[in-house]
């Protein structure tokens, strides 16, 4: 099934190390394996998503998201292919760290990314955006460009406190820009049921943010870390792992309404993408 325009999903958390990049890369890969046309957008100047998808060479190319957003270059020119035919990438580079200053002087600076993605959204079913762990103008662009926000949360107290700040920030963005954000999905990452704090955190999330908390949790595992170090997706390196199943569940739960026609024999597709 093809949609009229892509659903834009943003992995967002202002706290670092919560699993935005590793999960978003696996999430996008999973969608592409399921037959969806996916565009991944790396908004982190450290370009870890680009590295995860084994496209490190793209970090040094002349054209980047910087030139598209500031100079008005064509976005289609900076999209690069990956190991999967349906999975494309807008890579990041260190130039993104300098984007803030010219962006600040521009008209409609908060909506530049939205405008940029509009040019290509007809060509994809999903656009997955991996944001940087910082509160800045590019992050605001990403929030205003997305239809849904996925918040990976570590099951500890400080992450829960960071979630409070994030939710209040999103609420103020809604008030300031006078519009309603799309859906918000909060899910726990690196969940270890043996640690009491993980259980307590999960309980608190479901109690205080019941409308946004997902049932799916990404269990703590070494496979996802290993896969990123190999420049592979967890579905390539460890297709039968528990974490791969968790991510698959995440994909199903987030997109449950749109996935009636989703591929049934997912396992075979992973083996023969």
């Amino acid at each position: 099934m093809t949609t009229a325009s892509a659903k834009k999903q943003l992995f967002l958390n202002y706290k670092g190390g919560t699993g935005k990049t590793s999960i978003s890369s696996a999430y996008g890969y999973c969608l592409a394996v399921m037959g969806k046309r996916v565009l991944m957008v790396d908004l982190d100047a450290q370009a870890h998503l680009t590295t995860c998808l084994d496209q490190e060479g793209a970090r040094r190319q002349d054209k980047s998201l910087y030139s598209v957003m500031v100079k008005g270059d064509n976005v289609a020119d900076i999209i690069i292919p990956t190991s999967l035919p349906l999975l494309k990438l807008i890579p990041s580079s260190l130039s993104l760290s300098a984007l803030e200053v010219p962006l600040f002087k521009m008209h409609l600076r908060e909506f530049r990314l939205r405008q940029v993605l509009k040019d290509v959204e007809k060509d994809y079913d999903f656009i997955i955006i991996d944001s940087a762990p910082s509160i800045n103008l590019l992050g605001l662009n990403a929030i205003l460009a997305s239809d849904e926000i996925l918040i990976p949360l570590l099951a500890d107290f400080l992450s829960f406190h960071g979630l409070k700040i994030l939710m209040e920030t999103l609420a103020s963005i809604e008030t300031d820009f006078r519009f309603y954000l799309g859906k918000i999905h909060i899910f726990l990452n690196r969940f270890n049921p043996q640690y009491p704090i993980c259980g307590e955190c999960k309980e608190a999330v479901h109690k205080f943010y019941p409308e946004y908390a997902l049932q799916t949790v990404i269990n703590e595992s070494h496979e996802i870390i290993d896969a990123s170090s190999m420049g592979q997706s967890v579905f390539e390196a460890y297709p039968d792992s528990a974490v791969a199943a968790d991510i698959k569940n995440l994909v199903y739960e987030v997109n449950s309404k749109n996935f009636d026609d989703m591929v049934k024999n997912f396992g075979e597709l992973v083996k023969n993408p």
């Binding site: 939710m167 209040e168 609420a171 309603y180 307590e200 608190a204 205080f208």
Partner: protein
Amino acid sequence: MKKKFESNVATEIPKTKLHEPELPWKLTEEEVGQIGSKDDDFRAAIAGSSPLKTRAPFLILLVMTIFGITTYLISSAVMENEKMRTSVAKKNSELSLVQMNLMKAVAEKEAVNKNSAQLEKKVSDLTAQKQLFASVIESLTKKGEDIDAAPATPILAMTPAGNTAAPAAQTPETNAAAPASQTGPN
């Protein structure tokens, strides 16, 4: 530990589209589907048939519009023409009136000229008469002075016999009759 979680919950959370007010005119998926299927039915129905059948109201409306516009243009042209004709007739009547006045004025001018010529002639006649009278008066005055200056001789002795009637013929009464016969009927 639980208390710490409870005291660190966001005071304001985003409303998101979950709480977006439902718009009264918002179409459901089913309704959109129905509209789409109706469109498909219509497309299937009109495929291959002539436009006159499928779009008759549109064509009738188009013809009526063209007819209306044409009628309006023709009637406005006719009205304009009529107006112009009326205006030309009015101007013609004004012109003939002016011409008549002009002719009248010319006739009046001729009459005045004629009258003035007659008056001038009368004036010249009167002037001539005046001169004649003046010369007669002068000659009579001179004659009278001559008579006064002459010695007291008997009139009968001095005048020849045949001239006795001459002074009578030169009296002012007879002289006055002579110019009158010269002036004519004027």
